[in-house]
C-alpha cells in the first residue's frame, strides 16, 4: 500500500443556503479544493452524501459531481453510510490511491437539507436508523441519543452540566470560524433552559439542519512531494467498523464500540497511541455523542467523558483540543459533508492556517472520528504533518 497525503482542501460557508442547489454545492467545495491544490483535474471523485434522493429527489451524484465541477469524464463514486458518508468518501479515496489505482483523487462531502421542510428532514434523517424496529415505533434521532444520555448518566453519573459544556465549548470555537453556521457563544444555563426536544436533550444539545459541502484532494506521497506547495499532511491511519443498526442490540447502550474498533485499526496502521494525538475533530451530533466518543477513542476512561469535558481537558487550550472547528454543534451538520469537513479542519490546523483564536498550538498529529446513525458505523482517520 502506497503512502497518501492531503494536498488540497475546500469548504464553503455552511447554513441555510436557499440560493445554492445540490449541484453547485458540490461544485463550490470541489473548485475551492482544486484552487487550494493548484490543480485543474483529478483522477476520480468520491462523493459522500447520505440521501440526496430523500432530500432533493436527486440520485446519480456519481455523474452530477464530476459534471457540475467541470470534470467529466472523470469517474464519480457516491458512497453512503448515513452520517459517516463523508469520512467514508475520504477513506475510499485513500484506498483508491494506496492501492495504486490512481494518483490524485478528490473526496467531496455534501448534503442539501433545506429543500424539504422540518418534517421531511426528520423523515430523511430517520432513514439512518432501523425503519421497522426503531423509527416505526416513533423514536427520533434526538430520542435515540437521549436514551444513550439517560443510560450514561445512570451508569456513570454524568451530569446535565457536563453535557451542556460540550455545546458551550464547541460554540466558543465556532464563534471564531467564519464558515460555521451558528457563531453565537452559549452558556450552560442557556443550553439547559432551551426548548426540550427529548428528555434530557434540548435543542441546544442537538446539531442543526444545514446545507453545506467540503472537499479534500488526496495524492500519492511521491506525487505530493513534487506538486504540493504547502505543508504536506500525511494520512497515517484509517479505520472503519460497524455495529448493529438497532440501538437496543448494542452490547452497551451508551458506549460506541464501532468507534473503539475503527480507532484501533487507525492507531495500528499509524503505529501511534492515543497519547500521541494533539487534537481531534469528533462527531458531536448531540452533546452526549462527544462524551461517549472521547471514551471510545481512549482519550479518557469509560464513564469519565463528562467530568473531563467540564474540567476543560478538551477545550481549545486544553490537553487535547476537541472540535476546534466548532464541531457539528456550531459549525453545522450537512450530513454527508461532515466527515470531509473534519479532514479539512485537521489539515488547516496542521498547516497553521486556522482562524485567529482557534488555532491549536501544537497541531502535528490530528484525529478525525465520524459516525453514522446511533453509532452503527464509525470511520476514524489520523493525519500527521510532515
Amino acid at each position: 500500500m502506497r503512502d497518501v497525503a492531503v494536498i488540497g482542501i475546500g469548504m464553503n460557508k455552511w447554513g441555510e443556503l436557499w440560493d445554492i442547489s445540490i449541484r453547485d454545492l458540490i461544485a463550490q467545495s470541489a473548485l475551492l479544493a482544486l484552487d487550494d491544490a493548484d490543480l485543474n483535474k483529478v483522477d476520480a471523485m468520491y462523493i459522500g452524501c447520505m440521501s440526496s434522493g430523500l432530500f432533493t429527489d436527486q440520485e446519480h451524484l456519481g455523474s452530477i459531481g464530476p459534471d457540475y465541477a467541470g470534470l467529466c469524464p472523470t469517474p464519480g463514486i457516491r458512497v453512503e453510510s448515513a452520517c459517516s458518508s463523508g469520512a467514508l468518501a475520504v477513506r475510499s479515496a485513500y484506498m483508491h490511491i494506496a492501492s495504486g489505482m490512481s494518483d490524485i483523487v478528490m473526496a467531496v462531502g455534501v448534503e442539501k437539507m433545506t429543500d424539504v421542510d422540518g418534517a421531511g428532514a426528520t423523515f430523511a434523517l430517520a432513514s439512518a436508523a432501523d425503519q421497522e424496529y426503531e423509527v416505526y415505533n416513533g423514536v427520533t434521532f434526538p430520542g435515540l441519543y437521549s436514551m444513550m444520555a439517560t443510560h450514561h448518566m445512570h451508569k456513570h453519573g454524568t451530569t446535565r452540566d457536563q453535557l451542556a459544556q460540550v455545546a458551550v465549548k464547541n460554540h466558543f470555537n465556532g464563534a471564531k470560524n467564519p464558515l460555521a453556521q451558528f457563531r453565537m457563544e452559549l452558556t450552560i444555563d442557556a443550553v439547559k433552559n432551551a426548548v426540550m426536544i427529548a428528555d434530557p436533550l434540548t435543542i441546544l444539545d442537538c446539531s442543526p439542519i444545514t446545507d453545506g459541502s467540503a472537499a479534500v484532494i488526496l495524492c500519492s506521497m511521491d506525487k505530493a512531494k513534487e506538486i504540493c506547495k504547502k505543508r504536506i499532511v500525511k494520512v497515517i491511519g484509517s479505520g472503519h467498523a460497524t455495529d448493529s443498526i438497532q440501538l437496543a442490540q448494542r452490547e452497551d447502550i451508551s458506549y460506541i464500540k464501532s468507534t473503539e474498533l475503527a480507532a484501533k485499526q487507525a492507531f495500528e496502521m499509524a503505529d501511534k497511541k492515543v497519547a500521541d494525538i494533539d487534537f481531534a475533530e469528533i462527531h458531536d451530533c448531540f452533546t452526549i455523542a462527544e462524551i461517549m466518543v472521547i471514551e471510545a477513542l481512549g482519550i479518557v476512561d469509560k464513564g469519565k467523558g463528562g467530568p473531563a469535558t467540564l474540567d476543560g481537558m478538551t477545550a481549545i487550550d486544553g490537553k487535547i483540543p476537541v472540535n476546534s472547528s466548532g464541531g457539528l454543534k456550531s459549525k453545522g451538520h450537512p450530513v454527508g459533508a461532515t466527515g470531509v469537513a473534519q479532514m479539512v479542519e485537521l489539515t488547516k490546523q496542521i498547516r497553521g492556517e486556522a482562524d485567529k483564536g482557534r488555532q491549536v498550538k501544537k497541531a502535528d498529529i490530528g484525529l478525525a472520528q465520524n459516525m453514522g446513525g446511533s453509532g452503527a458505523s464509525s470511520v476514524v482517520h489520523i493525519l500527521e504533518g510532515m
Binding site: 418534517a119 426528520t122 423523515f123 430517520a126 421497522e132 424496529y133 426503531e134 423509527v135 416505526y136 415505533n137 416513533g138 423514536v139 427520533t140 434526538p142 430520542g143 437521549s146 436514551m147 444513550m148 444520555a149 439517560t150 443510560h151 445512570h154 426548548v195 426540550m196 426536544i197 427529548a198 428528555d199 434530557p200 436533550l201 448493529s244 438497532q246 440501538l247 437496543a248 442490540q249 447502550i253 451508551s254
Partner: protein
Amino acid sequence: MSSPKYWREMPQRYRYEAAKCKKCGKVLFPPRLICPACQAREFEQVNINDTGNIETFTVIRVAPAPFVDQAPYPVAIVNLGDDVKILCQIADCEPDELKIGMPVRIEFRKIQQEGEGGILMYGYKCVPEF
C-alpha cells in the same frame, strides 16, 4: 407506508415471533438468515417474553409527522430477558413515572395510521406492570 412493508413484519409486531439459533441459543428479534453470534444458519421459531424492565428511556417532545398529535410520549429500550431488548413506546405512563428498572408488559396498540384514508398500523407498546 407501503402495505407489503407493513404486512411483512406482522408476525413480529402482532405475535412477537423471534428465531432461536439452534447452535448457540441466541434469540433474534426480528429473525434473520444468519446468527450474528455464531454464524449458524438454522433456527427454531420462539416468542420473545411479554414482560421485562426498562433499561433506558426518554420522552419525545418534538415528534415526527405520524406522531405529532401524541407528543409528548415516552420511548424506552425494554429488556425482555434472554438477551432480547426492544425499543418501543411506553403507554399509560406519565413521563415523571418512568424509572430505569421499571417492570413493564407488552400490550397491543395502534402505532400509526396513514392519514384519513390509508392503512392502520398496529404493533407493540409497553405498559407499566404494577
